[in-house]
């Protein structure tokens, strides 16, 4: 009989060269990362990127094809799920329909042979603000309440790591916001490591201290939410986390502490500490909210770089107006203008000059043959937009 993992000292969660293949399909591809103890860590990615499979391997519900899962110094790769100090909040909550809320929450304690569970269950239900709901069945609760029961059922076991599999996906927008704040509060209170899987970039950014963006079984970028947003590492990240205007060009070496770029016949530059490469095919990226529109080249502030174009579309979304500007070479750029002044909107057909501060631009590697990339308007409402 192996001893329960609780007895080993707590520590960081480490995944080492973790790989999972289903037949010929590689769901998770040689993944390595460390989640510090007590962190709120988000795995962000589109569906099918391998984030849930990674989570299931940490929980022990899926056996890795190769690689290791370590908790502190302990290798838990081969442990059965019920021998790991890890608990999960499932996407559909997976509350036991034949047990009442009290017994659902007490389930883990009882399985470990703890008889006096009443006080702990009451305290846990209070933590998730469900006092007095103990005798109800899961089917009698709303989605938000069920979600909180699922959380209480996992937290009561004081796991070293709590895994959350899209825990807010089934809730409506308003409730989701509320639960995001709630989850964050609880995490700070209990100080347990949270690993949160989500496809919602906004959710990941508002809740997590560290975000890992996953794509095709690999981690594209890992870091603090603001760092990833301000300085994405790849074109995928630049477009998955918010939107970006990416101009296809060629990086042409250093000039002082700047990197020169040629794109569509014009010359631009990017600060060296915002360039991921110095030579070769590159994307010059600018976020839409950092792209400003002026009447002509003469109105562009000193130090800004610019391209000329014509407004082809304008969408009023309350806090901002979103414009599409067609450049001379035919690509469209998007630009968001805050509706903070009294100025009128630009009409479709108006010639404009789009300009930006080079310190807001970033330079990313580009595969040869890739062209400009702009996310279409209103594909995803920008952060803070009224929807």
């Amino acid at each position: 009989m192996r001893q329960m993992a609780q007895e080993t000292p707590a520590g960081d969660l480490r995944l080492a060269d973790l790989t999972k293949r289903f037949g010929v399909f590689t769901a998770v591809d040689d993944l390595s990362l460390t989640v510090p103890q007590g962190a709120f860590f988000a795995l962000l990615g589109a569906s099918g990127c391998g984030k849930t499979t990674t989570l299931r391997m940490i929980a022990g519900l899926e056996a890795p094809t190769s690689g290791q899962v370590l908790l502190g110094d302990r290798d838990i790769t081969g442990l059965r799920p019920y021998r790991r100090p890890v608990n999960t909040v499932f996407q559909s909550y997976a509350l036991f329909p034949h047990l009442d809320i009290h017994e659902n929450v007490a389930f883990g304690l009882r399985r470990r042979g703890i008889r006096q569970v009443g006080d702990q269950v009451e305290r846990m239900l209070a933590l998730v603000q469900l006092q007095g709901y103990g005798r109800r069945r899961p089917a009698q609760l709303s989605g938000g309440q069920q979600q909180r029961v699922a959380l209480a059922r996992a937290l009561i076991n004081h796991p070293q790591v709590l895994l959350l599999d899209e825990p807010l996906g089934a809730l409506d927008l308003k409730l989701r916001r509320q639960m995001q704040i709630e989850l964050k509060r609880i995490q700070t209170e209990v100080g347990i490591t949270f690993v949160h899987v989500t496809h919602d970039q906004e959710e990941a950014m508002t809740m997590a201290d560290t975000v890992a963006v996953m794509n095709a079984g690999r981690i594209e970028q890992l870091g603090a939410p603001a760092d990833i947003y301000e300085y994405p590492a790849t074109a995928f990240v630049a477009n998955f986390l918010g939107q970006s205007n990416l101009l296809a060009g060629e990086a042409g070496g250093h000039a002082g502490d700047e990197v020169l770029v040629t794109a569509h016949g014009a010359r631009f530059s990017v600060p060296a500490d915002r360039a991921r490469l110095v030579d070769g095919p590159a994307f010059l990226g600018v976020r839409p909210e950092k792209l400003h529109l002026a009447g002509g080249p003469d109105d562009v502030p000193a130090g800004h770089q610019h391209v000329g174009g014509v407004v082809t579309d304008a969408s009023y979304v309350g806090v901002s107006t979103q414009y599409l500007v067609r450049t001379a070479w035919g690509s469209e750029l998007s630009a968001f203008t805050a509706n903070s002044g009294l100025g009128g909107r630009l009409a479709v057909g108006t010639p404009v000059t789009a300009h930006w501060d080079p310190r807001h631009a970033f330079l990313l590697p580009r595969a040869g043959g890739e062209d400009d990339q702009t996310t279409p308007l209103l594909d995803e409402p920008p952060v803070g937009a009224v929807s």
């Binding site: 999960t88 559909s92 399985r111 059922r153």
Partner: protein
């Protein structure tokens, strides 16, 4: 115009109620005849009202013996077929194995084979093997044709169960056995109970297969068949009415246990016929 619309909306329901009348008429007749004092043993017509048949249901001793024998056979066949069928359903839904299509065929074929053929083929086997026919050959035959129905019923329930509930239990420190005992079994139990009830009713009411494999053993349907030639005692209708009443009570009781239970019961009745 209004009348036409009204008719167009209602005629389907009207036809449906007529058909329901056709389906339930014989039961009303059985119930009525259970209060009949027939004019002669071979008469099927209503003659005179009496409570005698209900007061002394076992006036014909043979008949009550046959009912008891049918119950004994039904209980044994139910227990055996429910155990065998449930195990098979678990293997089919929860495990991968080679030869799946062969097993599926073996389970499906008895349901598609005319009972007559199953009855005669078992008779041919027992005769060729020199097995004397009687109580136990009936049990063997009943288990055989009940197993498939148990598999189908339990399988439907099991396939509709969320696997994540079991994963959640394992995640919450329940071992494989505890997970089965605390989560899987309670959730599949309604399906197993429904399968058992179905098996019992199939066994209790079977005539054709039993007829070929009974030897001299007399079950209730065998008794009715034999009596139909010699004259039916009116107590047969008492048994028929009582069976109906008990079954109706069971349905009623399950509906008293709440909407969910009732819907589950109905779902089970209709389930193997379609997807849940």
């Amino acid at each position: 115009m209004k009348v036409r619309r009204w008719l167009a909306d209602r005629w389907v329901m009207g036809v449906a109620l007529l058909v329901l009348g056709y389906l339930t008429l014989p039961i009303a007749v059985v119930a009525g005849l259970s209060f009949n004092r027939p004019s002669s043993r071979l008469s099927y017509d209503f003659n005179e009202f009496t409570l005698d048949n209900w007061a002394r249901p076992c006036a014909t001793a043979d008949m009550c013996d046959a009912v008891v024998r049918s119950m004994e056979i039904g209980l044994i066949a139910t227990v055996v077929s429910t155990v065998l069928g449930t195990l098979m359903a678990f293997a089919l839904v929860r495990h991968g194995f080679r030869g799946r299509s062969g097993i599926n065929g073996l389970i499906f074929l008895p349901m598609a084979t005319p009972e007559l053929v199953m009855g005669t083929s078992l008779l041919a086997l027992f005769v060729a093997a020199g097995v004397p026919q009687g109580f136990w050959t009936i049990v063997i035959a009943h288990v055989m044709f009940c197993v498939s129905f148990v598999v189908v019923t339990v399988k439907a329930r099991l396939a509709g169960m969320d696997r994540r509930l079991e994963e959640a239990a394992m995640d919450l420190y329940a071992s494989e056995w505890q997970t089965f005992r605390r989560i899987t079994l309670p959730l599949v139990l309604p399906g197993i109970v429904a399968a058992a009830l179905l098996a019992f009713s199939l066994s209790f009411d079977d005539f054709i297969i039993t007829n070929f494999n009974a030897g001299t053993t007399v079950t209730f349907p065998m008794y009715v068949w034999g009596a139909a030639q010699r004259g039916i005692p009116p107590q047969v209708n008492v048994i028929g009415t009582a069976m109906f009443g008990i079954a109706l009570l069971l349905v009623g009781a399950s509906s008293l246990r709440g909407r969910r239970a009732r819907r589950a019961a109905l779902a089970v009745i209709a389930t193997p016929a379609g997807k849940p």
